[in-house]
């Protein structure tokens, strides 16, 4: 990354000279003898060494002789020093290695011929290197004692019989994954690598990241479904916004292996469970392979049981494109361009998104384009633009490696951005940084927190104001920074004065002492970063929350320098890019405003067409606009509003009544089932282009596979359509598209595909000689002075009531992705988490008479669903948590579609709901007595006129009697009732 050209002298200062086997070599200062030798191209066999892990010195294979040192020394643990004379291949060395190997092999059971690892087995390789003979090796093997194989994990097998106790997996799990699922246990001959309690790995805390599998030198840890690839293609993970770089191994147009890219500065070779195992969706039989057209006379809302043929017929590209082109033109002509809208996709490339917005604006003639960023970080863009003049994450992962303090608020980082989660855990555990966590729920990071705050959902502004109050009160603010770089301090200070710890405890439920402690930790840190996710943004006060985060950073001078910064963690792999590309209703690529005449003129000239200066509809207004009759045609590319929008019933009603709906996707998503025309698209591994990750790094993705059937790359489909509609774009490749992007987008000015071969570039990257920008706001803000906003706390729209006494909050799980279109079609991910649950605190469960795994009915003002309850103290009392991955229990049936007034992001994080045992709910529908009992936990029966006999029956829990007047009861309902009645107060 450094652009400094090192002089020859400086370079010399960094190297030392050693003699290896009589030859002088220059090696880097500070490395071990082993690393030095390897870097000079001299092989030394090793079994317990891994370049990413701290040396262990256990296998004794790396022994060498060094002048002046007695005996043989392990080269992996000895630092190389100037003038050292090392011998790596003497008879003494090799004899020792042979003996070591014999001992290892004697304890290594198994048959090499049938071992899946035999191609890459280090043990075999070394045996060959040392000239040991197969027969000899076989003779050495003990055939006794066979340990059971652990086959419990869907992705890999653990065979302890092949384990040589090199400890690499244990160190990988500790040092890289920061999980500590496995370790060495037992003693002497029985020593083995196992989990706590010696249980199958699937029952352990293992996160399935596969860091151990990727490194095991033998066949002790092997993936279940992996074949040696014919070629490897370097690309970017399609799941989250971390943007890990990886190699897809390809054979016969199928992905047969995956490995992290060790050279990547993003993930340094690491991957999480999704990035490692989540690719078989690409080859899933349900992939769309041809355009589909809805059968004549089959209505939009027609029920289906998954049979495509009942609703659609296959069509040629020609016919499908013609139909779509005709209908879009008709609608445009009849109702005007603003009666059409497009939803672009944060899963697609920058090139796809650029072409999509160009199509919307240049061909359809409207600014009605948006994408799912509206549902996740719209408030970030609005809030941060107001505060800094720039809406993106200000810093880099590099700053996370340097900061002294992490403040994680409203982000379940280890589940949603696992690789960033590992950085935090690793640094906190090493004592290199401290951690403040603020989250209504107990999350994994809470266990690592120096101060762990659990505020009530939706009280973030109050909490942040409270911290600032203490910081200002105790003089911990950065007065110089405030003076030189910001405006609005006086006003803000006046407002936060009111937020004393007493007041804030009252609002947020966080004890005063914790508020004081967190404020001091933050105010006194040399450098601090705030990382946040949907817990901040998905509120009606989302923009306010973001402004508060910005306030706290500027108040303490924690922005615009190394190790500090503003880190909104973007969800989708390319949600940053989709925003950058102008898949937003108010801006062109690079956040150039559509209502700015000079911008409009610039794009009109470049695209050779007239453009609209009216900002368009946001995604969350689309359903309303359809219902009002303003919107007649909708084109959806790679999004699934039928599961992701709040208040799904409303979305469904809208999509069922729209005149014309086109969906372009890789699967028949819940939304695609409603479409008039479906275009089959190429998946990420089938296309070229770029993704931009959350740290603004534009990275290259490369085509590894041919798309199935007639599926096409998204931008090519849209270009073909544009051509049909009389406005050809003339792009021949993704690189062509990027050239046009660069020419019209200042912040992408220096981005060209051939510059991205090595590791990507962070925007702003202004021209071809610009090295990219690791962190923003150095010296000055994009808007000049940073704006401190006086932000008052306003409670969420919905509060709990008698009918809806619980707060529902939604989120994600490590193993799955959004609406599950991809992850649920990946065997490993689906097996790891086959279905969803609603998490509830034991106190609430007790009140409701619920047992673990009971089927419950959840209701809100907007809808109802049934799901399984999981009783856990992770949810605080009064709060129910549900992920939104499951179409069988689509939580967005319940969520609130109330919007943030500016950013128009819905309040996914706070909805008032009720929860009832499902059998009870059903029985109560036509039984007033049960309905009463279900509603009111303790004194329902007071109002009932009961005979002495009835009272007696209830008091003794005589269910037969009760059944005689309420009718026959379900078994589960009986046990519920007995308990319930025993709590009754008279």
């Amino acid at each position: 990354m450094s652009t400094v050209i090192e002089t020859i002298d400086e370079k010399r200062a960094d190297t030392i000279t050693v003699t290896i086997n009589g030859k002088e070599v220059n090696i880097k200062k500070g490395v071990t003898v082993l690393e030095g030798a390897l870097s000079a191209g001299i092989y030394i066999p090793t079994l317990c060494y891994d370049p990413d892990l701290t040396p262990y010195g256990a296998c004794r294979l790396c022994v060498v002789e060094i002048d002046g040192m007695r005996g043989l020394v392990s080269s992996c643990t000895i630092p190389a020093t100037e003038g050292m004379a090392v011998y790596t291949d003497t008879p003494r060395v090799n004899q020792s290695r042979c003996i070591t190997m014999e001992l290892i092999i004697a304890n290594h059971h198994g048959d090499c011929l049938t071992c899946t690892k035999n191609q890459q087995c280090e043990l075999l390789r070394i045996a060959q290197y040392l000239g040991m003979e197969q027969e000899h090796i076989d003779r050495l093997r003990k055939s006794t004692q066979v340990l059971p194989i652990d086959d419990s994990h869907p992705a890999f097998i653990r065979d302890p019989n092949k384990c040589i106790l090199c400890g690499i997996c244990v160190r990988a799990c500790h040092e890289i994954a920061s999980v500590d699922a496995i370790g060495l246990a037992f003693r002497g001959n029985s020593t083995k690598v196992t989990t706590a309690g010696d249980k199958p790995i699937i029952e352990s805390i293992c996160k399935s990241c596969g860091e151990c599998i990727a490194r095991c030198p033998t066949g002790a840890l092997v993936p279940k479904y992996e074949k040696p690839p014919a070629k490897e293609v370097k690309t970017i993970c399609p799941y989250c916004g971390v943007g890990c770089s990886l190699y897809l191994g390809v054979r016969d147009n199928t992905i047969v292996s995956v490995r992290g890219d060790p050279e990547s500065s993003v993930n340094n070779g690491s991957l999480c469970v999704k990035g490692r195992w989540g690719y078989d969706f690409i080859a899933h039989p349900e992939r769309l392979t041809t355009p589909l057209i809805r059968l004549d006379g089959v209505s939009r809302g027609a029920a289906h049981d998954g049979q495509v043929r009942d609703l659609f017929r296959e069509a040629t590209w020609d016919e499908a494109l013609e139909l779509v082109s005709k209908r879009l033109l008709e609608i445009k002509q009849t109702y005007g361009p603003d009666s059409l809208a497009c939803l672009s996709s944060a899963k697609c490339t920058n090139e796809d998104n650029y072409v999509m917005q160009k199509f919307t604006r240049g061909v359809l003639g409207t600014n009605n384009i948006d994408h799912c960023a509206r549902l996740c970080h719209a408030s970030t863009i609005v809030g941060a633009l107001a505060a800094f003049g720039q809406g993106a994450m200000s810093n880099s992962y590099d700053d996370l490696e340097k900061t002294n303090l992490f403040f994680v608020i409203g982000s379940n980082t280890t589940e949603c951005h696992p690789i960033i989660g590992s950085i935090i855990k690793r640094r906190v555990r090493a004592g290199a940084a401290k951690l403040i966590v603020a989250d209504p729920r107990s999350i994994e990071l809470s266990e690592y927190a120096t101060v762990d705050l659990h505020h009530q959902p939706g009280t973030d502004v109050a909490l942040l104001n409270g911290l600032m109050q203490v910081i200002i009160r105790d003089g911990l603010e950065d007065k110089d920074f405030i003076q030189e770089r910001t405006e609005g301090f006086e006003e803000m200070q006046r407002l936060v004065k009111e937020y004393t710890p007493e007041v804030v405890e009252e609002t947020t439920g966080v004890p005063q002492s914790d508020i004081e402690a967190a404020a001091h930790l933050f105010g006194e840190a040399d450098s601090a970063c705030i990382l946040y996710g949907m817990g901040i943004t998905q509120h009606t006060t989302g923009t306010d929350n973001v402004k508060s985060v910005a306030n706290l950073l500027m108040l303490t001078g924690n922005i615009g320098r190394e190790g500090t910064g503003f880190s909104p963690l973007r969800g989708q792999n390319n949600v940053q890019g989709a925003c950058d590309m102008g898949a937003l209703p108010n801006v062109y690529p690079g956040y150039q405003k559509v209502d700015d005449p000079s911008v409009k003129a610039k794009f009109e000239t470049a695209w050779g067409c007239e453009l609209s200066d009216r900002p368009g509809l946001v995604a969350t207004e689309v359903a309303d606009a359809i219902c009002r009759g303003d919107l007649k045609g909708l084109y959806v590319m790679g999004e699934n509003p039928m599961l992701s929008e709040p208040y799904l019933e409303h979305t469904q009603r809208a999509l069922e009544q729209i005149e014309f709906l086109v969906v372009q996707d890789i699967f028949l998503s819940e939304t695609a089932w409603l479409a008039d025309v479906v275009f089959p698209a190429a998946a990420f591994a089938e296309k070229d282009g770029t993704f931009t990750n959350t740290e603004r790094r534009v990275q290259r993705i490369r085509q590894a596979l041919q798309p199935p059937g007639e599926a096409k790359v998204d931008w090519q489909i849209i270009s073909a359509l544009a051509e049909r509609m009389g406005k050809p774009f003339g792009f021949r490749s993704a690189a062509d598209v990027m050239e046009e992007i660069a020419s019209l987008t200042l912040i992408y000015g220096g981005i060209h595909l051939d510059r991205l071969e090595k590791g990507g570039l962070q925007w702003p990257c202004l021209d071809t000689s610009h090295p990219g920008t690791p962190f923003l706001h150095q010296g000055s803000f994009a808007r000049g002075r940073g704006k401190l906003h006086a932000v008052d706390y306003t409670p969420p729209i919905e509060s709990v009531s008698k009918n809806y006494p619980l707060v529902l909050t939604t989120g994600r799980l490590l193993e799955h992705w959004h609406t599950g279109t991809m992850s649920r079609r990946s065997r490993v991910l689906a097996e790891l988490r086959p279905n969803g649950v609603a998490e509830m605190h034991p106190d609430d469960a007790t009140k409701l008479g619920l047992l673990e795994h009971d089927l419950i009915t959840l209701t809100s003002e907007r809808g109802r669903l049934e799901t399984t309850v999981h009783i856990t103290e992770k949810s605080p009392p009064g709060v129910v948590f549900m992920p939104f991955h499951w179409r069988e229990a689509p939580v967005n049936v319940l969520t609130n579609n109330a919007l943030d007034p500016v950013a128009k992001i819905p309040e996914f994080k706070v909805s008032a709901i009720n929860a009832v045992l499902a059998v009870l709910d059903r029985a109560a529908q036509d039984n007033a007595f049960l309905a009463r009992l279900a509603e009111n936990p303790v004194e329902a029966l007071k109002e009932y006129e009961l005979t002495t006999e009835e009272r007696a029956a209830i008091a003794t829990g005589d269910i037969r009697k009760v059944e005689s007047w309420v009718g026959k009861l379900d078994e589960r309902l009986k046990t519920w009732l007995i308990l319930r009645l025993s709590q009754e107060k008279w």
């Binding site: 500590d180 699922a181 706590a196 309690g197 034991p842 007790t846 047992l851 673990e852 046990t975 308990l979």
Partner: protein, 177 residues
């Protein structure tokens, strides 16, 4: 009404027994700071209190010391002094040495397994008996041998197994439980 108690058992998050485990553990932990080097003393004291290291206790200690569960499990399985399963009030050791083997100790062991419903290395649910095997007691003349709480029973037969157990506790009840 039996149903009711069953329901309550699973429903109440911490059954009484576990609650007291937690209380007793907290009492022990209250005299420590939470430093890594306190691990072994804590484990020793816990074992003294409970007779072994129950799984939930291991988890609690881990949380208290900010160490992974697996680290404590590793230590607990490394040192012979620590036990992960409870030992019974009575310990039965069966000899598996050559002499005993030749004289059919396998049948004795089988009978014990049947009577107690446990395998070697396990303890009966009521913690009355632990069953273990040993290499050779050095009393081969008396083989086959079983030792109950340090009392040697030589020339064992399957019939003798029952009478010995009957004399110590009530083995028939165990079987039903």
């Amino acid at each position: 009404m039996t149903k009711l108690s069953v329901v309550q058992d699973t429903w109440v998050p911490l059954p009484e027994q576990e609650a007291t485990i937690e209380e007793r553990l907290n009492e022990i932990l209250s005299s420590y700071q939470g430093r890594d080097d306190e691990l072994i003393p804590i484990m020793q004291q816990v074992q003294q209190q409970f007779g072994y290291l129950p799984e939930p206790v291991i988890k609690q200690i881990a949380r208290f010391l900010h160490l992974p569960d697996i680290t404590i499990f590793g230590v607990a399985t490394f040192y012979a002094q620590f036990k992960l399963v409870p030992t019974g009030r009575n310990i039965i050791r069966v000899c598996r040495g050559t002499a005993c083997h030749v004289r059919g100790v396998a049948r004795i062991l089988q009978e014990l397994e049947n009577q107690l419903g446990v395998k070697p290395g396990e303890t009966t649910a009521d913690r009355e008996y632990s069953l273990e095997t040993v290499a050779c007691f050095g009393a081969c003349a008396l083989s086959p041998i079983m030792v109950l709480d340090d009392k040697v029973h030589g020339k064992m037969t399957t019939q003798k197994v029952r009478s010995i157990l009957d004399a110590t506790g009530s083995s028939s009840e165990l079987k039903d439980g």
